[in-house]
């Protein structure tokens, strides 16, 4: 075994192998940096060349791509608040907050360094673990997977801090939105208003962009100014970020460990891992007050985990032929094209190739992170540019990204609707991560619960694995409040932080949200009337959670001291209307024309920059879109006028 390990390492350092791997890394970084593209698009760029290639070289190229995508997508998350791909959604929360504080360079260099270390740890874990992984993977049955989704959901309590009920309600809305589509148990369709677009449910990319990116963009437009509200210190921040990681080796190691193990469990997509590790960072921190407002640990934790997770996802892909993530699914297709059938035989007859894959992963992680570290400083200066100039480019970019999800106009409308919800949530301080966690975990929770009940009956809930995860959930829910309670008893009230003693804030949007959620819940309950018991149980549960949380929140505000809070929303809603107008234009005039004209007009009329520069930027955007269309065999919506 050891000789195979090193002979494949030797193969790695041959010219063709390195060359193709560098190509893979470069393409991976580019598709990682462009929001919405991610692994699947990158893989589809490389797949046409695979058939007939030497397997070990082709695998090096594919792994180069797979390994660096969770590295590259950090740029968009930190600098623009756009979740680059599902693997870096948690990074947005604190990464973008840091960028707003003028510490983008620090956040980026921390993120890349922890990505690199996480990836290396992941590759190391994989080296040994792949030989013994089979029984471990098999020990996770549907009931354990269900409990893991519950563990993910319990992070809502951790993430929503003081406003637990608002967080739970947001999570309930996420769960309800996540149940749109086909019921796994009966094959029935749960479609609000019978819209065809919703057959497969809402795409994660669209929801992620809508809930995080759009509200931030609108907020920045309302405030005016640059992304960085405080002066940037690029050089100093860069070094500071490195030391931030160096000072927290245990956090990095723990999160990378969690990441690689979660990656090995098939069926739990990488999108849960970053929230789990983010929650873990919050839980294990003594001072939690800065999370969500720019705590570097909130960047380090998910970034160490997501590269490790990409490594871990290779275990089920190689051993069972079951992809652990969307990228792994395409990688699996690549294996098949190379004539390699994943399965037990990967360890018996193709052990050398398996280790080539692992070594390539490790090396590509180092390469990718090093390249990104080099780019971090110059790119971070983007945050100093006045945001009005960036806005049209970013809006075009997120329209493009959202349209990648299913390549239909529905993506753009869904983006707008979720965006409006995101704006309300943001203005009233309802936890947006909680919504996203609910959305991401809803299908898994439902399918695994149903499968566990069908396969194992009531025995499902007495398995040792289930009890262990159950204990973890209980601990994460009970211990933190207990600690706070004990601390409160020991210390005098005067020593509490002002945040803990502040009265509850209540505003117009809170009232609006509570009322409309209750009304909406009632309507949905009625609309789902014709679903069978099995098909309707999950949406009903989500509705029950929303109602219960809303009622609790209302009671809480009624009995506790509260302060009326001004929650401005007029300007924000105006921008949302503007966004829908833009989508309307796309419908009428087509995407390319609209994007070009929108950029031009916005830059000239709103940003008021030099006409030459405006024309140049608009032309650049158009060129980018046309180039992407060629590269990805993409057809943009042509608009109604083109049909006449």
């Amino acid at each position: 075994m050891v000789d195979v390990l090193f002979s494949s390492l030797g193969q790695l350092f041959t010219v063709p192998h390195m060359l193709y791997m560098v190509i893979g890394v470069l393409i991976g970084l580019i598709v990682g940096i462009i929001p919405g593209l991610g692994g699947i698009a990158g893989m589809s760029l490389l797949l046409p060349f695979l058939y007939g290639m030497e397997p070990s070289i082709a695998l090096g190229m594919l792994m180069g791509l797979v390994a660096v995508i969770p590295t590259g997508d950090t740029f968009a998350s930190v600098l623009l608040g756009i979740p680059g791909s599902s693997a870096s959604q948690a990074t947005v929360v604190d990464g973008f907050a840091l960028a707003k504080k003028g510490q983008a360079a620090r956040a980026l260099s921390s993120a890349f360094l922890s990505s690199m270390i996480g990836g290396l740890i992941g590759a190391m874990v994989l080296t040994a673990f792949i030989l013994i992984a089979r029984p471990v993977v098999l020990s996770f049955s549907s009931s354990e997977l269900f409990m893991l989704t519950l563990l993910g959901l319990s992070m809502v309590a951790v993430l929503s801090g003081k406003d637990v009920f608002k967080g739970v309600a947001a999570c309930g809305v996420g769960l309800l939105v996540g149940t749109i589509g086909m019921a796994p148990a009966t094959g029935e369709f749960r479609l609000p208003f019978e819209i065809d677009y919703l057959y497969d449910g809402l795409p994660l990319v669209v929801v992620g962009l809508g809930i995080f990116a759009l509200p931030e963009i609108i907020d920045l437009l309302v405030k005016r100014g640059a992304i960085a509200e405080q002066p940037c210190q690029l050089g100093k921040g860069w070094k500071e970020g490195m030391t931030d990681v160096a000072r927290r080796p245990r956090l990095v190691a723990r999160c990378a460990g969690i990441g690689s193990l979660m990656g090995t469990i098939p069926g739990l997509a990488g999108s849960v891992v970053d929230w789990l590790t983010y929650g873990h960072a919050v839980q294990s921190a003594k001072d939690k007050s800065r999370f969500g407002k720019g705590d570097i640990r909130g960047v380090i934790a998910p970034e160490s985990a997501n590269n490790a997770c990409a490594c871990g996802a290779m275990v089920p892909t190689l051993l069972f032929g079951i992809p652990g993530s969307g990228t792994a699914a395409v990688f699996l297709g690549g294996l098949l094209l190379l004539g390699l059938q994943p399965g037990v035989s990967m360890l018996e007859t193709n052990l050398d190739l398996t280790y080539t894959i692992i070594w390539s992963l490790a090396l590509a992680n180092i390469l990718g992170a090093a390249l990104c570290l080099g780019l971090a400083r110059p790119v971070a200066s983007l945050t100093r540019v006045p945001f009005v100039i960036l806005a049209p480019l970013i809006i075009t970019l997120i329209l493009f990204a959202a349209y990648q999800a299913t390549r239909s106009l529905g993506d753009l409308f869904a983006l707008g609707i979720i965006g409006a919800l995101g704006v309300l949530f943001k203005q009233a301080n309802w936890s947006r991560p909680a919504f996203l966690i609910g959305f991401v975990l809803a299908p898994g929770a439902e399918a695994y619960f149903y499968q566990a009940a069908q396969f194992q009956g009531t025995d499902a809930f007495w398995r040792p694995g289930v009890l262990i995860i159950g204990a973890l959930i209980a601990a994460s829910l009970v211990i933190p409040p207990l600690r706070v309670y004990l601390r409160k008893r020991r210390t005098a009230v005067s020593s509490l932080t002002p945040e803990e003693t502040a009265p509850l804030a209540l505003g117009m949007i809170d009232m609006l949200l509570l009322a409309s959620l209750l009304i909406g819940a009632g309507y949905m309950w009625w609309a789902f009337d014709d679903l069978s018991l099995l098909g309707g149980i999950m949406p009903r549960l989500a509705i029950a959670i929303i109602v219960a949380a809303c009622v609790c929140e209302i009671v809480r505000t009624a009995i506790k001291p509260k302060a009326w809070q001004l929650q401005p929303s007029h300007q924000q809603l105006l921008w949302i209307v503007g966004f829908f107008a833009l989508v309307g234009c796309v419908m009428i005039f087509g995407f390319l024309v609209t994007a070009a004209l929108f950029c031009l007009c916005f830059l000239l009329l709103v940003a008021r920059i030099q006409p030459v520069a405006a024309v140049g930027l608009a032309a650049g955007v158009t060129l980018f879109l046309v180039g992407m269309a060629n590269l990805l065999t993409l057809t943009y919506p042509a608009g109604m006028l083109a049909g006449l």
Partner: protein, 377 residues
């Protein structure tokens, strides 16, 4: 003169350019341009320069890999070597992409679609989402696959013993959906008198196999390639017992033993051995149709029927040119298993027969799905 080397399918290969560097350069250049190959010569039948091939599935899925495998072979054998561009339009389990193709595709022969069992089945079951009709399309080529049903050794030592147990013990089977690729298997097991509890919601056949390996499912089914790579090792180590294969259809429409599993009886053989007669009735009829459209003609290359006659012939001739060659057989072993693709008119006849499900059979099926499996159509 440029010669095409089948090992380097994506462009003319000059011998002096065969170093790694230039190949790498080629990958970079091609991937930036997004354009493959070159159009060498004009042809008589007016072959379009570029053929857009819609694949209503995601990148890297089974049908996508299948299509990418065929692009090289088709492109090399069609006169003028047109560029084949794969256009993935996933969604709704291939229904969305097929609907779009039916609505928009030009009938000038420059647009193809690649479909699979999950495109055929909803059309046969008259799913309300389906807005495409196989009558509007004509096939170029179809590839068959086979499959094997296997069970946990805890049910019995050999297939015979397990068949006896199946008749009086409820067994669990992890499926993607009740109307998915597993439908004929569910029907076959029902005909054999087995009481099957189908647990749906698996995201792939592989997940179903995982449930079997974890011991959650008692019985499982895999298509040929997955069986060889992932189930054969289980059988060898005594962790699974193969029960029967689905067999293959010969040109006369009779079911024969699968060349991939010559020692394994087919479902029909098992049924006859146990019941003394061939299967009959609506269940047997439904089994026959769904087996034909989901396995014998599992994956199809189709184009709109109104495409120029000469062009359709040209495409079919191209397929004829390579399917019987040794080079193709060798290459296709890993991708398709030991099955030869069917070309042209033969596919057309089989397809029409398979897709025409009688109304009474369909109604029986709807009731059966509802009563036996609680699944609504």
């Amino acid at each position: 003169m440029i010669t095409l080397d089948s090992r380097y399918p994506h462009g003319p290969r000059f011998s002096m350019l065969s170093t790694t560097w230039s190949k790498a350069l080629l990958v970079v250049v091609c991937s930036t341009l997004g354009v493959l190959g070159a159009n060498a010569q004009a042809s008589e039948a007016n072959v379009p320069e570029t053929i857009h091939w819609t694949i209503p599935f995601g990148v890297g899925g089974g049908t996508d890999v299948w299509a990418r495998f065929f692009t090289t072979w088709m492109s090399d054998n069609i006169p003028g070597n047109p560029t084949l561009v794969i256009d993935n339009v996933p969604g709704g389990g291939s229904i969305n992409g097929s609907n779009l193709f039916a609505m928009r595709a030009a009938a000038d022969g420059s647009q193809w679609i690649g479909t699979s069992a999950s495109t055929q089945y909803p059309a046969m079951l008259q799913d309300r989402r389906v807005r495409y009709d196989y009558d509007d399309w004509t096939p170029i080529l179809a590839t068959p696959t086979g499959g094997v049903v296997y069970a946990q050794p805890s049910l019995g030592d050999d297939a015979e013993a397990i068949f006896d147990v199946l008749e009086d013990q409820r067994v669990k089977f992890a499926v993607q959906s009740h109307t998915g690729l597993e439908l004929p298997v569910l029907l076959a097991l029902d005909l054999l008198g087995a009481d099957v509890q189908a647990v749906s919601g698996m995201r792939s056949r592989g997940e179903g196999r995982l449930a079997f390996e974890r011991g959650e499912a008692d019985i499982d089914f895999q298509t040929t390639s997955a069986y060889f790579s992932s189930v054969q090792p289980l059988v060898d180590s005594g962790k699974a017992v193969p029960l029967f294969s689905l067999g293959v259809l010969d040109d006369n429409g009779d079911i024969q033993r699968d060349p991939a599993f010559p020692e394994l009886p087919t479902f029909n053989e098992v049924y006859e051995a146990r019941h003394g007669e061939a299967p009959s009735g609506p269940a047997a009829e439904a089994y026959r149709k769904f087996f034909a459209s989901g396995f014998t003609l599992q994956k199809l290359i189709l184009l709109p029927k109104e495409a120029p006659e000469a062009l359709i012939r040209e495409y079919r001739d191209a397929a004829h040119r390579f399917v019987e060659t040794e080079a193709f057989k060798e290459a296709s072993m890993a991708q398709l298993g030991p099955y030869t693709p069917v070309v042209g008119e033969v596919v057309e006849q089989h397809l029409q027969d398979a897709m025409s499900l009688e109304e009474s059979t369909r109604e029986w099926l709807v009731t059966w799905l509802q009563e036996q499996h609680g699944a609504r159509l």
